[in-house]
């Protein structure tokens, strides 16, 4: 009899396959006794490092573009002559191979960390390399994303950004994590790759290696050892659903013709072609952090303008909402972020950065305006982490001062939502970032997996703030969008529209299901669903009640 586990579905779709589990990092035993033979210890250490380098090179040769260069760079580290000589020094001083390896890696780790926070990714690469070398020496399962040589369903405790570069979307049919949350890296990655995913599945890591599972990323369920007929039926139903989604196209609208702009979120200029090819009315959130991350100084005006130009040209004739630099908190920048903020999520981040570094925002707006002037896209600009009317007014004025037509604000801080009537008057549009708005409303760190229930975008307190913002927008004739991941949940999208939201921005893969949901409900029905959700006592109840109402 098949057992079904449940969690939170964070990336839609149905898939089945054999399980491959991500092994945890090896535990380095503290009581390793060196054999006393330095030559044997050294040979073991060198063999392990060479084996790790070879396996990385082999994977690099099979990986696509970006992932290949990440793996190749990591292989170079594994073959580093200075690292090798540090290990040799260690074993010659009488240490066991594994101890010498851990210490040599530790030395470089300290040196890289001392160089600055933008080295964080290299440090993560180095840690991964150390874990692989140690696992090889100890003969325990290799940590990191498994590579069984056939398509599989990945089960992990949670995925770190470092794991994601090497994830092969062609091989991973679905992702299940024991921890994580709706806004975790796992969720964002899975959605961007279009891989079905379920997070916070209790008991997931207990499923046996190689066992078949059937994953439903929409419902948030994982069936363990399902019979073949069940799998067949589920996959066929999914195919039929996909075909039905493809049948609806064009601008988003409710069944009675009320328009709702469907837009895509983009975070760089890498997957521009895919994003531009999606059936959307433009970009609702163009994150610009990627231009500033992992470097010791800010990009030049020319460098920025060239990137903005590429994005605007790809979306010629459509709307592109640029979000100005959102540094700080979980995205520290070497040249901006204060090193020892006691509470970075509540610190100098988002628009607040311009209090200390007005030149960064000024340069960015100059570059955006330059690119906008030379393109045929409809360019809007918004600031992250706005809290007051005064901030909104100053920003909108600065945007217009650069000759740009439309300056708006992100509503992520509860203060901005509560005073939305005033904020709306001061700027041209508002866009609700549900991830940060829920973290600040519920005082729950968005990366804290065990608080996932509080971070649920269905939570009525969050929906109340969306309602306040949307009503203020309507009263003053300002568009109000939702650009958090929550907009990609078709049921919740109906609720947002019912609350008065005028545009929804999401990963390109999520658009067809949202469009299809809108096309089968009137605006009045959406308003009814919004009332049902607001009346519920918590997020889980809100979702269940809205689901029942749409079925009735």
């Amino acid at each position: 009899m098949a057992e079904t586990l449940s969690g939170i579905g964070v990336s839609p779709g149905v898939a089945a396959g054999p399980v491959a589990k991500m092994a945890p990092p090896p535990v380095v035993p503290t009581d390793v006794k060196p054999s006393g033979d330095a030559e044997t210890e050294n040979r073991a250490a060198m063999d392990a490092m060479r084996a790790v380098a070879h396996s990385l090179e082999e994977r690099a040769s099979r990986a696509p573009g970006e992932a290949a260069s990440v793996l190749a760079a990591q292989a170079m580290m594994a073959e580093d002559p200075t690292l090798a000589s540090k290990v040799t020094d260690g074993v010659q001083a009488g240490k066991a191979a594994v101890t010498a390896v851990v210490e040599a890696f530790g030395d470089f780790r300290d040196m890289l960390l001392a160089a600055g926070p933008y080295m964080a990714e290299r440090v993560a690469d180095l840690d991964d390399l150390r874990n692989r070398t140690v696992a090889t020496l100890l003969g325990v399962p290799m940590p990191g994303v498994p590579d069984p040589g056939h398509p599989f369903v990945l089960i992990a405790l949670d995925l770190a950004p470092a794991d994601t570069a090497t994830l092969d979307a062609e091989r991973v049919r679905a992702i299940i994590t024991e921890e994580g949350g709706p806004t975790s890296h796992t969720a964002i990655l899975a959605k961007s790759l279009g891989i079905p995913a379920v997070v916070t599945v209790h008991g997931a890591t207990g499923i046996a290696e190689g066992e078949t599972v059937l994953v439903d990323g929409t419902e948030g369920t994982v069936a363990v050892a399902p019979d073949e007929a069940t799998v067949q039926q589920a996959l066929e139903a999914e195919q039929a659903k996909l075909a039905a989604l493809k049948a609806v196209s064009g601008p988003g609208r409710t069944s009675d013709g009320h328009p709702v702009q469907l837009l895509v979120n983009i975070a760089g200029d890498k997957d521009l072609a895919t994003a531009a090819a999606a059936d959307s009315e433009g970009v609702g959130l163009f994150r610009t952090e990627f231009l500033f991350l992992d470097r010791p100084n800010a990009p030049t005006l020319e460098e920025q303008q060239a990137v903005y130009q590429r994005v605007f040209d790809a979306f010629e004739g459509r709307k592109v909402v640029v979000r100005t630099l959102d540094a700080g908190a979980d995205k520290p920048l070497e040249f901006v972020t204060m090193p020892d903020e006691p509470n970075p999520a509540l610190g100098v981040r988002g628009l607040r950065t311009s209090r200390r570094h007005p030149e960064l925002l000024e340069d960015q707006l100059t570059a955006v305006a330059g690119a906008a002037g030379a393109s045929k896209a409809e360019v809007w600009v918004m600031a992250p982490m706005v809290s007051t009317k005064a901030e909104a007014a100053a920003f909108a004025e600065q945007v217009r001062g650069h000759g740009l037509a439309s300056g708006g604000v992100m509503v992520e801080v509860p203060a901005a939502a509560i005073r939305a009537r005033h904020v709306a008057l001061a700027c041209d549009f508002m866009s609700i970032g549900t991830n940060d708005l829920s973290q600040y409303t519920y005082a729950a760190d968005r990366m804290a997996g065990e608080l996932a229930d509080l971070l649920d975008a269905w939570q009525p307190a969050l929906l109340e703030l969306v309602r306040l913002t949307a009503e203020a927008g309507k009263a003053h004739g300002r568009p109000v969008g939702v650009c958090g991941e929550a907009a990609s949940d078709p049921l919740l999208a109906l609720v947002f529209v019912g609350l008065g939201v005028t545009s929804l921005s999401m990963a390109p893969v999520s658009i067809p299901a949202v469009r299809a949901a809108l096309a089968t409900h009137t605006l009045a029905e959406c308003r009814g669903l919004a009332t049902v959700a607001l009346e519920a006592e918590d997020g889980r109840a809100a979702r269940a009640a809205v689901r029942d109402a749409t079925r009735g």
Binding site: M77, T82, A115
Partner: protein, 90 residues
Amino acid sequence: MPERRVVVGSKVGLHARPAAMFVQAAAKQPVKVTIAKTGGDPVDARSILSVLALDARGGDEVVLAADGDGADQALDELAALVARDLDSEG
């Protein structure tokens, strides 16, 4: 010992791709080359981790040094590479 002083041309500094290109080129030389920031301790130019830990940024001056047959040619080649803006090429 022959030396070359050269200003890092890549805006991102000797990090990421420019660092990898530099280290690969150093590994191809017939002599051992060291690299240091002006006034700092020299490290093996074939060691990607040491080069990254140098934290040489765009506009910083670095000192390349080598000894033995072919040292001058190796230094010229590597100095020219460091001076280029590697990150904006290709």
